[in-house]
């Protein structure tokens, strides 16, 4: 019974909602609305469950006197203070954030917001460091990703088109130098021709490439965003949603039962 009842509820709810979508007449017409109301009520209770498990988790840590217990004490006491003050302000003024100079608003504005914003702003440092380490021309795919990233990063900021010609110029000069060095070290004549040819092409391409980027970089960045990026995204989304539909059918039919564990 422990499994059968939840499975039956899932099957009936899922089946009725699908029927309600295709038959918008009574008795099915109002079903979706009613289910939505229930869903809102259940969602409210999930918040309570979340609070319950969070508090229990930290309470156990305090009881066991674990190493991180002081942090758990801070968490629980902050939770109690904020909750108590919120209820007090809510009852007294009809709004947890009233009056404008209240403790809760002060706490939110000067503690919670800076803490959360600081955590997120650290990402700028990590991303810069990670981009430097990860964007290496290790193969064709990595090189394509590298080029696209460069185009979008410079093409989407003001003055990016003015910096881009220098970057492309330096890149092509370096490519020419590397090609010459490679060509010198090769023994076969055809290999020498390929590498010296590449060096010549790189030098010739400097000015046209720089000119093209100076006048077309924002458009190129838009093209990357609107064509390859969107194409890949659409493909991904279609795949994700097909997977979601398949998973929903499996759950409704009771084939997928991991949510019961």
């Amino acid at each position: 019974m422990k499994k059968e009842v939840p499975l039956a509820i899932t099957f009936i709810s899922g089946f009725l909602l699908i029927v309600a979508l295709f038959i918008p007449h009574e008795p099915f017409g109002s079903l979706q609305e009613r289910f939505n109301d229930w869903y809102i009520i259940v969602s409210g209770f999930t918040l309570i469950l979340g609070v319950d498990s969070l508090i229990l988790y930290h309470w156990r840590k305090i009881k066991r006197k674990e190493k991180e217990a002081p942090y758990s004490i801070i968490l629980i006491s902050t939770f109690v203070i904020v909750l108590a003050w919120g209820i007090y302000s809510g009852v007294k003024y009809g709004n947890p954030f009233a009056p404008a100079s209240s403790f809760l608003r002060y706490f939110y504005t000067y503690m919670f917001v800076p803490l959360q914003a600081t955590m997120f702003s650290l990402l700028a440092f990590f991303i810069a460091s990670a981009a430097y380490r990860a964007f290496r021309a290790r193969g064709l795919n990595a090189t394509l990703l590298l080029i696209s990233a460069g185009i979008v990063m410079l093409g989407r900021v003001p003055k990016g088109e003015e910096a881009a010609p220098y970057f492309i110029g330096i890149t092509l000069i370096l490519l020419a130098i590397v090609s010459v060095l490679e060509g010198v070290s090769r023994v076969e004549v055809y290999e020498k021709i390929i590498f010296f040819g590449l060096a010549v092409v790189s030098i010739i391409a400097i000015f046209p490439a720089a000119w093209f980027l100076k006048f077309n970089l924002p458009r190129l960045a838009d093209w990357v965003m609107n064509v390859p990026q969107l194409g890949a995204k659409r493909g991904l989304f279609i795949g994700i949603w097909l997977g979601a539909i398949a998973m929903a059918i499996r759950i409704i039919l009771g084939i997928e039962r991991t949510y019961l564990k």
Binding site: V113, A117, F125, L174
Partner: protein, 273 residues
């Protein structure tokens, strides 16, 4: 020479952090900005708001929190200013409970600055759990989910809400998105009720929303700090986002330069090996 290439392929992360720190702080302190042309998707959003008749209702959804505040808060303020200047009515709600006070703070600040009155020119409804259910229920009757505002005042006693029942009474919905709530707005409010939507988002989320803009499911898309700066230019009130764009430009140039240097070192070392 080998040592030099090895060194540039493995720059100490503390040097990178220092470069990022300098690249962000100096432009923000000096507040020097570059001139640039707004993106087309931002201009479309701006023009749509300009085309709305005075007195139209605009639903604003706060779906972000303090982590995305630097990108979305300046935009929220400048958009609210624009809405009030156009004499549009603002109905604010949200699906991120921890971010909602940011919306409330901005709304109170801009309303006070523009001399707008609560209950007549704007209203703050607050939060209800269950994103999809809330969005769907607004399509039938907004009182089904929000019978009272955030202070417990019945909607019928607020002049602004007397004639607002569902999406057909809302001329435009503006979603401030740092996650996936924008998808819900499009999938339910637009697809089912044909609601006109402008989505504004953090730069990370923006690529996910482009398909909706290209398919004309949303009437405008304002992405990241660049979008906010574009909007500030359009409303002719340059502020934090515009100043922030200089910092972003410098950081992007630093990152591209670092990537280039890293690759020179990497390719040279590979050749040596």
């Amino acid at each position: 020479m080998r040592e030099f290439f090895e060194r540039i392929s493995k720059i100490d992360r503390r040097i990178i952090y220092l470069l990022v720190f300098i690249g962000v702080t100096i432009p923000l302190l000096t507040r020097k900005g570059f001139e640039f042309k707004p993106l087309q998707e931002v201009e479309t959003a701006y023009n749509f708001i300009e085309s709305l008749p005075e007195g139209s209702n605009v639903l604003v959804s706060i779906d972000y929190d303090a982590a995305s505040m630097p990108e979305l808060q300046p935009l929220l303020e400048v958009m609210l200013r624009h809405l009030f200047r156009r004499n549009l009515k603002v109905i604010m709600l949200g699906h991120w409970p921890l971010g909602l006070p940011l919306g409330q703070i901005a709304l109170e600040k801009i309303a006070k600055e523009m001399g707008r009155k609560y209950g007549e020119d704007y209203v703050f409804l607050g939060y209800r759990p269950g994103i999809a259910a809330v969005i769907l229920n607004i399509g039938k009757e907004i009182r089904g989910v929000f019978d009272v505002d955030y202070r417990g005042i019945y909607l019928d006693s607020l002049p602004i809400m007397r004639n607002v029942h569902n999406y057909s009474d809302i001329a435009l919905l503006i979603g401030f998105e740092a996650g996936s709530v924008g998808d819900f707005w499009v999938q339910f409010a637009q697809a089912r009720f044909n609601q006109k939507i402008i989505l504004t988002s953090t730069a990370v989320v923006t690529p996910d929303l482009y398909p909706y803009y290209q398919a004309k499911q949303i009437v405008g898309l304002i992405g990241g700090l660049r979008g906010a700066a574009d909007y500030e230019i359009l409303v002719k009130k340059k502020g934090f986002a515009y100043a922030g764009m200089t910092a972003q430009t410098i950081i992007h140039i630093i990152i591209v330069a670092l990537i280039l240097i890293g690759n020179i070192g990497y390719l040279a070392m590979r050749r040596v090996r």
